[in-house]
């Protein structure tokens, strides 16, 4: 792979949200390190899949990549242009080339706009199309591409089913002729039979238009299905990245192994014979991530040395990139998993400082 094949390159990207407390004066009491040092590259015309559990920073990464959320640090290079330092005007013209699709099509579409006006809006903003007829033509072609009938134009979002609404969302992104589409949970709000329609549509559009995707989802099977390269995130950082097939056949990071083994497969034969790696406890809060390897509080392979005090860097092992000190020893079987005691994890922003808890609490009732 040569460098000019890379459409998007993210270097050491960080997004930290301040946690503020106080009634009159907001006081910053800490930071949620939603994204904390991510490096990744997306080759042109390929799909990069990003998976991880709720709150690990997938959406924030996607938004920061498009500069919808200003990054705290790091760089995003899109087709050779560094976006984080780009003046607003030039960023706006770049925006046309990078579009986003959201999870819940209903909440991302204005219910008072009909489909035609939803689609025309973007064209006008970016000055695409010479006149009305030209815009009509572009919109018509887009509708065909996403498989919506022409009569859809005069209808409003609520008149469509979930799958059709997601098609409208895709059409809105597509009319602008983007090169990169960031799809944040594009099918998770949809029924199984409809999911498949949208997944196939995304696949077909990529084939016919040469689109580059960043697909964010918590459903590993979906990501596995449409991605060339998959990155696994845990608490704001990538823990493993590998070509899809390899990630599934040879997961190297303990968290990836656990994740793979936890996904149910619709096949009783597979389900009955697979070994499950059950993790103890919950995901720690990103406001207070564990030191060292962030996974060490739940890792069945955690070792007494290094794991708790040295943060592992992402390093190359074969075709994968893995952030684990002991990946080789785990892969060879030299290190064996052990039982882990579950730690109590507090829901975010609640129950940690008595001052912010709204329901009655007894002093000293939590650790």
């Amino acid at each position: 792979m040569t460098d000019n094949d890379i459409l998007v390159e993210v270097r050491d990207l960080k997004v930290h949200f301040p946690i503020t407390r106080g009634v009159i004066f907001d006081r910053t009491v800490g930071h949620v390190k939603a994204v904390d040092g991510v490096d990744l590259r997306i080759p042109r015309g390929k799909t990069y899949g990003l998976v991880g559990e709720s709150g690990c920073g997938k959406s924030t990464l996607g938004r920061a990549l498009l500069q919808l959320t200003p990054p705290t640090g790091g760089e995003v290079v899109f087709d050779g242009v560094e976006l984080t330092t780009l003046p607003a005007g030039r960023l706006r013209t770049m925006r046309r080339r990078m579009q986003m699709i959201f999870q819940d099509p209903m909440s991302s579409l204005d219910p008072r706009q009909n489909v035609e006006s939803i689609l025309t809006e973007g064209l006008q903003t970016h000055g695409i199309g010479t006149d009305r007829d030209d815009r009509r033509r572009i919109i018509g072609e887009t509708l065909d591409a996403v498989g919506l009938p022409r009569w859809a134009l005069s209808r409003y979002p609520h008149e469509f089913s979930g799958g059709q609404r997601q098609r409208i969302g895709i059409a809105r992104a597509l009319v602008l002729g983007p090169e990169l589409i960031v799809a944040d949970e594009p099918v998770s709000a949809l029924d199984v039979s409809i999911q498949a329609q949208v997944v196939n549509l995304l696949d077909e559009l990529q084939d016919s238009l040469g689109l580059t995707y960043l697909v964010i989802a918590h459903d590993l099977a979906v990501v596995r299905h449409i991605s060339d390269v998959v990155g696994v995130m845990y608490l704001g950082a990538l823990v493993e990245e590998a070509p899809g097939d390899r990630l599934y056949s040879e997961p190297l990071h303990p968290y990836t192994r656990a994740l793979m083994s936890a996904v149910p497969v619709p096949d009783p034969d597979v389900e009955d014979r697979r070994e499950r790696i059950l993790l103890a406890g919950d995901l720690p809060s990103p406001a207070n991530p564990p030191p060292g390897c962030r996974f060490h509080t739940r890792c069945p392979w955690a070792q007494p040395t290094r794991c708790a005090d040295e943060r592992p860097a992402l390093r190359e092992i074969g075709a994968s990139r893995v952030a684990c000190h002991w990946a080789e020893q785990i892969a060879s079987g030299e290190l064996r998993p052990h039982a882990v005691r579950a730690e109590v994890v507090r829901p975010e922003g609640e129950g940690e400082t008595p001052g912010v808890v709204s329901a009655p609490t007894e002093p000293g009732s939590y650790v």
Partner: protein, 371 residues
């Protein structure tokens, strides 16, 4: 006689000025003691309304009409008065929901909520109830249970709340547990923990479990018998293996063809079902699935297809089911199975030379086929 026998359950919601909605339109299924029965189907097919009706949790108001029978151990739950129903609920039949926060009282500590159940149904009080509550929390894998008892629901993470709810549900060793999408709101690693917990509880206590889910993967790992629902009716009932290997109802076939699988390769196109659940034919006019069905024939429309019972205890509601011998279980399954699978033969994945398709599949000992 099964432990729970739901027969021709119908639930109609009517609101003035609107056409009545038949949310559940003749659902029948049965649950044996110690059995795990799945109710699967897409959004809006009536899974939740079915379970709420059985539990007597639907609002008692003029617009809500419930017909049919739900016989639990000889008593029809739908005919009970409120008091006897409350007695049965919690003691003999318990339910857990998708969103644990809404079914826990936010201003009462977890411990008190658990001991209340123990007091009401098992007559336990004071220190004994406290001990038992801590034991239950420990049983469902909540760390440091004594301390957790004093905490409020919002102080626990989603996974821990669901565990607390399960602890309350199993506090009285119910004979039947109904779980409505208990893991849908949770992350997959937490889902795996909760499913494992449910499996253990069922195995250890002999509790029958009705598992409501839209996730075929969950069904494949957990259920003994599966009921597939479409538009308020059960369209296919089968034991787990036959259902996944040889789905007969075209909707089941379609569902299986639609799910991406972790163990399938990149680039395999899925086989979605065309249209959406909105494209239904009302059951009295024929098969509700007809507008989306690729096997539709003339006989499908006009009157609702009858339930067909086959010799091996399966049933489906279809006049032109997927054929048996050269099964068509969706392209994704066919692609992973190198040979045609015969009933009772060695499953494709178990061929010794076959590399395991999912990590961790290899060495597990082979289990004998369950009937």
């Amino acid at each position: 006689m099964a432990l729970l026998e739901v027969d021709d359950l119908c639930v109609t919601f009517s609101r003035r000025g609107q056409r009545p909605v038949r949310a559940v339109d003749g659902v029948s299924f049965s649950v044996d003691a110690g059995e795990v029965v799945g109710l699967v189907g897409e959004s809006g097919c009536g899974k939740s309304v079915t379970s709420l009706a059985v539990m007597g949790l639907l609002p008692r108001q003029p617009g809500v009409r419930v017909d049919g029978k739900a016989v639990f151990d000889g008593t029809d739950l739908l005919q009970l008065d409120d008091r006897s129903r409350r007695d049965i609920r919690g003691r003999d039949v318990a339910m857990i929901f998708q969103d644990p926060l809404s079914s826990l009282n936010p201003v009462i500590p977890i411990g008190l909520q658990v001991t209340e159940v123990l007091t009401r149904h098992r007559g336990m009080r004071g220190a004994a109830a406290g001990e038992e509550a801590a034991r239950l929390l420990d049983r469902v894998g909540i760390p440091d249970p004594k301390r957790r008892l004093k905490e409020y629901p919002h102080q626990l993470s989603g996974g821990m709340r669901q565990r607390a709810l399960i602890a309350m549900a199993v506090a009285c060793k119910p004979r039947l547990l109904i779980a409505d999408e208990p893991t849908t709101a949770l992350d997959v690693t937490i889902q795996a923990q909760i499913l494992e917990l449910l499996k253990e509880l069922v195995r250890d206590s002999g509790t029958a479990l009705v598992m409501i889910t839209h996730d075929l993967g969950v069904v494949a790992g957990l259920c003994d018998t599966v009921n597939v629902l479409y538009a308020g009716r059960v369209v296919e009932t089968a034991r787990r293996r036959p259902l996944f290997r040889q789905p007969r109802h075209p909707y089941t076939v379609g569902l299986l063809g639609s799910v991406p699988r972790l163990d399938a390769g990149r680039g395999e196109r899925l086989n979605p079902i065309p249209g959406s659940v909105r494209d239904v034919l009302p059951w009295p006019d024929g098969c509700a699935f007809a507008p989306r069905c690729s096997r539709r024939i003339d006989e499908c429309v006009g009157e609702p297809p009858d339930l067909v019972l086959t010799h091996d205890g399966r049933s489906y509601r279809c006049v032109n089911p997927a054929p048996l011998p050269g099964v068509t279980p969706g392209a994704d399954i066919r692609a992973t199975a190198p040979t045609e699978v015969e009933p009772g033969s060695v499953p494709a994945q178990a061929v010794p030379d076959d590399p395991p398709t999912v990590p961790g599949l290899g060495p597990a000992p082979r289990e004998e086929e369950k009937p």
